[in-house]
Structures are given as C-alpha cells and as structure tokens.
C-alpha cells in the first residue's frame, strides 16, 4: 500500500474506515484511526507535519501528486437509513479555482457579466478541472465505504441494457420504425428523410447501373442514390482497385461485386465489414437460388443493360425477409450455423429411422424443420447440406409468408448455390398442421362472409411454430411420390407419437440460464445468475445452441443490442491476424465474453458489473452443460442413406 512510499504530505488516506462521517470540514487534523485494517505506523515526523492530509485515491497509478486539494465530506442519507460519505472538493481550495459544477458556483472565475437568466448549468465547466479529478479518483477511494458496498451489492444485479427500460435506447432510438414502409402519399423530401433515417440499407444494382433491389423506398425515390453509388464503384473499378467499403458519417458502406451485380450494404448498426459482406453474399445466394448462375450470366452477356427486376419478380419479398433478419440480428447468419430442436437422442434417432424407412427413390435430401429449428435430416452419404443453402430455405419457409400462407403442398424449383449453382432442384414443402390436415373446410357461401380482417403481423416473441417437411429431388416429376411419402410419414410419426413430441419440444422455450446454472443455494446476492445470455456454436457440427431470449431480450431493441454485442465479439475474434482465444469486454451497459477453441465458439453477455471471474466460471459451466447435452441440442451425423 501507499504508506511505504516516502512522499511527504501527499499521503493517501484511503484506509479511512467506512464509519467515517466527518462532515464539511476542510481540514481533518489527522487521519482518523480506521477500524480495519489498522494503518501501518507512520513516522511521527510526517504526522506532525501539520498539513491537511489529502484524500486522494492513492492506489491509482495516475495519482496527481500535485493536487493539493482538501476535500469536503458530505453525507448522503439513503432511503434505508444508512448514510454514506462522499467527498466534495472544497471550492477554491484546489490547484485551480475553477468551480467543479457541484453546489453553488462561485463567481470569481467567470467575471461580472452574470445575469439572473443564467442557470446553474451555465457554470458547469465543460472541461473538468483537477478539482473534479480528485472526486473522480475518490470514487475508487469510496469503494471501501459502507454506502459503496451497499451500492456495489446492488450493482451485481444490474442487467445488461437496463437503459432501454428507461427509454434510453441510445443509438437505436429509431429502431422500432426501421421496418416500417415509407408511405407513398408524401412529398419526396419527407420520404427521402424517412429513407435516410433507416439504420440499415441494402442496395443491389447491375454493373451497368440499373437498380435491381432496395430494402427501403421504391426505386424511383432512390434512383439518384443508385446512380451515385454506381459512379463511385465504377470509378474504382476503372482504377483496377475495387472499392471494398467506406465510411460516411455514422454509416459504413460495404460493397460486394459479384459477377455482373453490385451489392451495397449501408449500416449504422456497427457491424464489421466482414459481417456485412457475408450478409451481401447471402443476398447474392438468394438471387442465384432464383435464377442459377448460368442464367444470370447469360442475361447480362447478351444485354448488359437488362432490367433484372423482371426475371427476379417475386423474389423481393425473400430478399427483404433475409435483409430484415440480418437487421434484427440473426445468430444463425452471424455464426453461419443452424439451430436444432432439442430432442432426446433416442427420439431423434427414431425419427430419422422412420424418415429413412419412408423415403422414395428420387429423394436427395429430406428435412423436418420445426419453427426454424432442424429436427431431422436424411441425406445420401456422399452429399452434405451447406448451412448457407439451408439459410435460404428456412428464410423462404419461416421468415417470408410466401409458402405457409398459401396452404396445401408446394413444389418449388430452387437452386441451392452451395450445392450446385448451375441447376435447379425441386423442393416439396408441406406443413404438418395442428388440426388434421385431411379434414376439408366446407366451402361456405363466400358471398355472405365479410372480407376478413388484414392478417395480424404480431409474430410470436420467439420463432414461429410450424413443423415443415422438406423433400428435395433433382427430378421435377417427383411431386406425387413425395406427396404420398408425406402422407405415410405423417401417419407413422403420428402413430409413434413422435409428432407430438416434436410439438411439445417446440412449445417449450429455449433453455434458460437459470436452468443451466442453478444458483448456489445461499446466494449472497439476489442475482439470478452471473450471465444473462449465451450462444454456443459447435464448430464440427456447424450448429449452435443459445439460451432463451426471455425475459430480457424480447423487445426488438434489446435483442438488437444483444446481437450487436455478439457481433462485435465475433468481429474481434475473427479479425484477420488476430489469434484471440478469449476476449472479455466491459461496456457501460453490459459485460461480454467470447471464447474460441477448435471445437466451439462461445459468446455470452452479462450485466455491466459482473466480475470477470464470475463470468468465466459461468462460461465454464455452460460449456460443460453443452458437452453433456450435445446429443440433444445438436444433430450429429443425421440419417444417412
């Protein structure tokens, strides 16, 4: 501790006990004897020096040794009856006579031209004087006081992003309106400013400058922006130094050139370039999935000025739902991994076997997917499924309403670019409805029914709850064999009870932290668990598991903040040339931890005051838990034929 140093007079007195309640005196004659621990004896000569002891936090490396400021101690009463002391630099006694912003300002520094209309705030200096530094330092000093300890014990329970509850959404203030359409019946100026207020934009244009897609605003509104972007990009193309990205104000622009197309992401959400680029890649994959690569190339080889909107007609909704899932923050897209429905290993095995038993000749891949989570996969031994292809399929089925709203069975030509970007496969999709699918609704006389109300758009807090059967074949004539496969599979799964098991698992939420980390019985504080949310990606399985978003991260803004936190951890871990294994970062409103090994990537978020040790312990426990549950939360291998 400090007393060993031979600095005279400027001796830290931070051993002052929590009981010290000396008030208002500018000069404490001598350090009051502290109850614990007893201060080491000081040379009497120093004590007798008669100078006011300075209460500057002595542990700090950057202790201002010249800050000879005596400090006022003021006492605050807390609602529960306890009192705490806080030092206030006495006015004018510091090395600078600038007032600190505390209490009544003195008039000496500011001259005579003061009027009554000036507020106290007018005197608050923007550049804090050393007198304030002392009080900042004293915060550290106060750690030992009872009041601080009380505060401290409460602070453990501070949850991440608590500011949101008090209406402080920070940068994300406009995020609720992010997905609103820009109305058409307004002046162009109003619409343009609405367009500019969006936090995330995706633009797709042809290298000839023809607009193809924009997430926000119709193309007439943003045509000029498209022109500007095309000019900028082609300028760099001409210089044989393709433009990758640039920053303008708070917005980061990232450009991806893919074949004859330019993709531009504009983000104010703080994603890394690599992440934005992978989002653009996904949009490109969606376009390939609609057209196939040879078709796309052909279109532009013959006529470079082709308007691609016509061939892509109907794909806009898929692009938009993909884009919105990135803007909302999709762990699946971030990690390039899939989530599985939690099932017992034996149950999943049984479902795989039933699936395999029912399969038909021309089947390439068969999947059962529930609420966006994989339940079962069957595939030929020599082919595996690529997560980016599955991302496209899941987006089509669960994020955009194209297929599930129609009812019935769908037969969809689709190109899976990671599997083969030059040809179509045919995809059979049918949803296992809750009610018996075979009962037909009698056609009631439609003339008597009023137009049904517009579909309500309030999606359930977590993922939608449909169970879908997906069968993929290279043969376009396989629909009817697949349709009968569906019937027999449905019957077998219903008979064996597995369909209701799937439904049961689907209706139970993702595992909560408290169920994974039961808090030690005599919990010192009332904090439920040190960490608030985690994501674990199994690298060999390319799958991830995460804890429930309930209750903290349900709102779109909280969810977005959580995902931004994961995004920045992910970006730090995956930056080029960084060989990080563990990263721990503390911010104003949360603490987060990332941990990467060859086997897994682990990310978690906790309240801002949770100690590193507590987080590390919790992380270890979660990783152990995943190890135990691996057979349930991941599909290992799947059904192979």
């Amino acid at each position: 501790m400090a007393p060993e140093t031979e600095e005279p007079a400027v001796k830290s007195n931070n051993e002052a006990g929590p009981g010290q309640e000396t008030q208002g005196s500018a000069a404490v004659p001598s350090p009051s004897p502290s109850p614990s621990p007893p201060p080491p004896p000081l040379p009497p000569r120093r004590k007798a020096s008669g100078e006011a002891p300075l209460q500057v936090g002595g542990q700090l490396q950057s202790k201002p040794t010249t800050a000879v400021s005596s400090i006022d101690i003021s006492t605050l009463s807390f609602p529960d009856g306890t009192r705490g002391t806080f030092p206030t630099p006495s006015v004018g006694s510091g090395p600078s006579s600038l007032n600190s912003g505390y209490g009544t300002p003195t008039r000496d520094s500011s001259g005579d031209n003061l009027t009554d209309s000036m507020s106290v705030m007018s005197f608050a200096p923007t550049i804090r004087a050393p007198g304030d530094l002392a009080s900042l330092v004293a915060a550290e000093f106060n750690r030992k006081s009872r009041a601080w300890n009380l505060l401290r014990s409460q602070s453990e329970t501070v949850q991440p992003f608590e500011g949101i509850e008090f209406g402080d959404s920070g940068e994300l203030a406009g995020f609720e309106r992010e997905f609103d359409d820009i109305p058409e019946n307004m002046t162009d100026d109003v619409r343009l400013s609405m367009w500019q207020s969006k936090m995330k934009h995706y633009l797709i244009l042809s290298s000839a400058g023809k607009p193809i897609y924009s997430r926000h605003g119709d193309l007439s509104l943003i045509n000029s922006s498209m022109g500007v972007i095309q000019t900028i990009i082609s300028f760099y193309e001409g210089a044989k130094d393709p433009l990758m990205g640039f920053t303008a104000g708070k917005a980061r622009f990232v450009v991806l050139t893919a074949g004859p197309l330019y993709f531009v992401a504009i983000s104010k959400l703080g994603e890394s370039d690599a992440q934005l680029r992978s989002q653009l890649e996904a949009l490109y994959m969606q376009i390939l999935s609609t057209l196939t690569l040879p078709t796309l190339k052909n279109i532009f080889v013959h006529r470079p000025s082709t308007d691609l909107r016509k061939p892509l007609e109907g794909t806009e909704t898929l692009l938009s739902s993909l884009a919105d899932s990135f803007t909302k923050g999709s762990p699946s897209a971030l990690l390039g991994a899939l989530e599985c429905l939690k099932l017992r290993k034996s149950q999943r095995h049984a479902i795989n076997n039933i699936f395999l038993k029912n399969r038909t000749d021309k089947l390439l891949y068969g999947l059962i997917v529930a609420g966006g989570k994989l339940v079962s996969v069957i595939r030929p031994r020599k082919h595996s499924l690529h997560p980016s292809d599955l991302q496209l399929i899941f987006n089509m089925l669960f994020e955009s309403g194209s297929i599930k709203s129609g009812g019935g069975e769908s037969w969809i030509p689709i190109c899976l670019p990671a599997f083969n970007n030059s040809g179509y496969l045919y995809m059979y999709v049918s949803f296992f409805d809750d009610d018996n699918n075979d009962t037909q609704h009698p056609p009631t006389t439609p003339s008597q029914s009023s137009p049904s109300p517009p579909p309500t758009n309030n999606t359930p807090p977590e993922s939608p709850q449909e169970i879908a059967l997906i069968l993929i074949s290279p043969d376009r004539e396989s629909f009817f064999p697949f349709s009968s496969l569906r019937t027999s599979l449905y019957n077998s799964l219903t008979k064996s009870g597995h369909l209701s098991l799937i439904r049961q698992s689907l209706s139970s939420p993702r595992p909560s932290i408290s169920s994974i980390l039961p808090s030690p019985s005599p919990s010192p504080s009332n904090s439920p668990s040190p960490i608030s949310h985690f994501i674990y990606k199994s690298r060999p399985n390319v799958q991830f598991v995460m804890s429930s978003l309930q209750p903290l991260f349900v709102s779109p803004i909280a969810r977005r903040k959580l995902m931004s936190q994961y995004q920045s951890l992910h970006a730090a871990m995956h930056a080029k040339h960084s060989h990080l294994k563990v990263i721990y970062s503390v911010g104003e409103d949360c603490a987060s931890l990332g941990w990467v090994t060859p086997l897994f990537e682990f990310y978690c978020v906790a309240g801002p005051n949770v100690s590193r040790q507590a987080m590390t312990e919790a992380a270890n426990k979660v990783v152990k838990w995943v190890g135990r549950e691996e057979g349930r939360v991941f599909i290992i291998g799947g059904g192979v034929f």
């Binding site: 061939p311 019935g408 056609p443």
Partner: protein, 231 residues
C-alpha cells in the same frame, strides 16, 4: 347440398390456375378452399397443390388444384401442371389490361397443348376495386368503364370468351363474390364421360356445354342481391 345422404359418385378433377403475376390466383384458391382472404399476399413460389371437394346434386367433384406462380421465369414449368388437366382457370386482373393479354396467351397455349377436352374458364378478378363491386350487375351492364379502377370492360372479355368457347366470370376473391360459382360451373361443365375416362371429348361438344353453362351464369344473381343490400 349436404355431405350426408346416399354416397354420390365421386371423381377427381385436375384443375390448373394460370395467369399473370399478382392477378389473384392464389387468393381465389384460398377463398375457395379455406374461405379466407389475405391482404398483400406474398407471391407464390413455384406452385402449390391443394384439394377441395365440390358437391353437385348428382355427384361429388374433388378438385385437385395446381396454383401456379405467375412470374415469367416459371412459365417454362407450366406444361408440367396443365398436362392431363381437365380444367383450367385463366385469371386476369380487371384493373390491368396487360393481364388480359397474358391471359389470352395462356388460353392459346392451353388450346394448343393441353388435353383436347380441357374446360377453360376466363376469370376477371378484383371486382371489389371497381364500382360494380356492390352494384349487382356483375356480368350485364357493368362494363362501360365507369368503375373506379376498372380497365377491362366486361364486354371485351366476355366477347373474347364467347369466341373461344370459355366460361367467363368476374370475381372478387376479397369479398368472395362469384368465387364458388366459378368452381361449381367448372364442375358442371366437366362431362360425365371425361370423368370416367379422364379424357375429354371433342372441342365442339365442349363449346356446347359452355352454351348450357351460360344459362347457369344467372345463378349468382342471388348472392348478388345480398351484396346489393350491403351497399
């Protein structure tokens, strides 16, 4: 027409919906099968297969409906769906003249390449966007262009349908107006022989049937009247 009673002869009819994108094919099917309507329905991808029974006095028809996507890039897949089809619904949008041109192309393609006896119905959808929506005279006097958004007159489409020997309806999937009638009319127009053999007789008799059918077109007048009250 109740489901109960003596078992009536039941047969399947394969029906395909064709037409430009966003004319309301899926909405017509959704209205017919689930009696439901969705505003701003997202475009169909590929094709959807649905079934719905239709009870006639003498028999039950089980429609196996292929609801195809209207986008140009799916056009090459259409033969897969209309091959062996006994009936086709070619849909256009009353408020969009180009959609009628596209419909005529589909009719020509069907007449050229589909099974010879195929029953084709031409359907102008989105009647709710016109002034005739609640006015009652769906087929008769409505079509002189005074409708708010109507761009295709009833006469124009109807005379075309007569020339080609097609059934003709104007419908609204949103209000449900005339939707069931279209399917009932198709069910009635399918000849018994074709139901047994799944092969249609010559085109001339098909035309004759449509003549009969036109008499039935007055049937929808009753729901029509109800619509009128709502106004």
């Amino acid at each position: 027409m109740a489901d109960s009673g003596a078992p009536k002869p039941s047969s399947s009819v394969k029906l395909v919906l064709l037409g430009e994108a966003a004319v309301g094919k899926s909405s017509l099917v959704l209205r017919f099968v689930n009696n439901d309507f969705q505003e701003n329905k997202e475009p169909t991808i590929g094709a959807a297969f649905l079934t719905q029974k239709c009870n006639l006095p003498t028999r039950t028809i089980k429609f196996e409906i292929w609801d195809t996507a209207g986008q140009e890039r799916f056009a090459s897949l259409a033969p897969m769906y209309y091959r062996n089809a006994q009936a086709a619904l070619v849909v256009y949008d009353l408020t969009k003249p180009t959609s009628l041109i596209k419909a005529k192309h589909w009719v020509a393609e069907l007449q050229r390449q589909a099974s010879p006896g195929i029953v084709i119905a031409l359907v102008g959808n989105k009647l709710d966007l016109t002034n005739d929506a609640a006015g009652g005279d769906g087929e008769g006097a409505g079509g002189d262009g005074e409708g708010d958004a109507r761009k295709v007159t009833t006469e124009e489409a109807k005379s075309y349908a007569e020339e080609e020997g097609l059934l003709f309806f104007e419908t609204s999937a949103k209000t449900g107006y005339n939707v069931t009638e279209v399917f009932t009319a198709i069910a009635n127009a399918i000849p018994e022989t074709s139901l047994k053999t799944a092969r249609g007789p010559g085109a001339s008799s098909a035309a004759a049937r449509t003549e009969e059918q036109r008499v039935n077109l007055n049937g929808p007048r009753d729901p029509n009247a109800k619509e009128g009250c709502a106004c």
